[in-house]
Symmetry: C2
Subunit: 229 residues, 2 copies
């Protein structure tokens, strides 16, 4: 769906981020979920903080919407939600294409969402932190060497769980949406490519038209660099 | 509720862990949620891996139950669930005392669950990793110094969001259960104590009889050190 500024659903996104973060800001997951079920949304651009701080003035009371000052915030009528996981789960509950209706299927899809966010991302986040945020620190390379086997082991387990299935529970769910998004953010993609089935899975996920539209929309929303200062 | 080995609900737990991990293994969250709503459960003790590997033989096909080989796994009839977040959400859906029934209240409680797991724990997990798992590495102290301000900032935001409320949304929910569990695992508790309202919140959470029962049950289940080798 195109972005529609008259949509009843509003998603916040960052007005500008440095090149390395483009395509990786977490509103992408929310846009992707909405695209999968054909729901339009409007975008409210928010000035970031720290190295992301360019663009229009930051809303004065944004912490009341998002306790940690991050994006995305999701609004739909009186509902105001934060945390991309909670938002994607809320969107998933709207449509069987994202979240099966039977209890077992639903619970398993949610289990994979949590697995992406809590058994894969904390490890890969740590690796991203020492690689990117602390890449200049004298201890960065050593920390990376120590952490990499932890990530590699998790990915080996994930590869075994996926096996030769297209999606983690056979059919696409919000669990796959989160897992694909977690995998593509790993700074050293060789760790993923080491498992051909995971590499195929990642390619399958990011080839989905809904992902492509979400990605294009996030990238198109950043204000141009020359006007960003 | 006492553990009841005839209960229809089964939770896996580690048979033995080193002293520093006791009380922090993630079946605690699941036990706590069950205790809050008075549901009994049976325990299946699993031999851990690595430094946790003591006790009875590990089930041969445990990875089919838990893709990353961790605890807890939750069984209830035909349902087999993994990831403590997904399990606590499943238990929460059984009872209004854990998860409000109205959509807004329900979504907000879930948002705080995800906040605990994804906006607090990844930062604190990184700090735990460099403090405990890599405490002997020459770069550990420097990494800790670099990471601590990230954790401190998140806790400052959390403190502001809590304000003078007893619980994050006024009444206790699964969001508080997860947040309290995330806060108590921070290795440097001075970071929490720096915010009197967070320190009180943590004390309020861990003083709940259901938490106390869950903790006692986890500790009681570890096989004695002298028989653990």
């Amino acid at each position: 769906m195109p972005i529609d500024q008259t949509s009843p659903i509003e998603v916040t996104a960052l007005a500008w981020v440095p090149p390395f973060a483009r395509g990786f800001v977490r509103d992408l997951r929310v846009r992707w979920a909405l695209e999968e079920i054909g729901l339009s949304y409007r975008v409210r651009l928010i000035k970031g903080t720290g190295g992301m701080a360019r663009g229009p003035a930051r809303p004065e009371n944004y912490l009341a919407e998002q306790p940690f000052g991050q994006v995305p915030v999701y609004r739909e009528g009186a509902l105001c939600l934060f945390e991309s996981g909670a938002i994607v789960l809320h969107i998933g509950a709207k449509d069987e294409r994202l979240l099966p209706r039977d209890e077992a299927g639903r619970s398993r899809a949610i289990a994979w969402m949590f697995a992406a966010l809590n058994s894969i991302e904390p490890q890969t986040f740590t690796l991203t932190a020492v690689t990117i945020f602390f890449g200049g620190a004298p201890w960065s390379a050593e920390a990376r060497t120590a952490l990499t086997p932890m990530v590699a082991q998790r990915l080996a387990h994930l590869s075994a769980a996926l096996g030769d299935k297209d999606w983690l529970e056979g059919r696409f769910t919000v669990g796959d949406l989160m897992m694909v998004d977690a995998l593509r953010a790993i700074p050293d993609q060789a760790l993923v490519v080491a498992h051909p089935n995971l590499a195929d899975y990642l390619a399958r996920g990011t080839a989905r038209p809904a992902f492509q539209r979400a990605m294009a929309a996030q990238l198109a929303n950043f204000i141009p660099d020359q006007t960003a200062a």
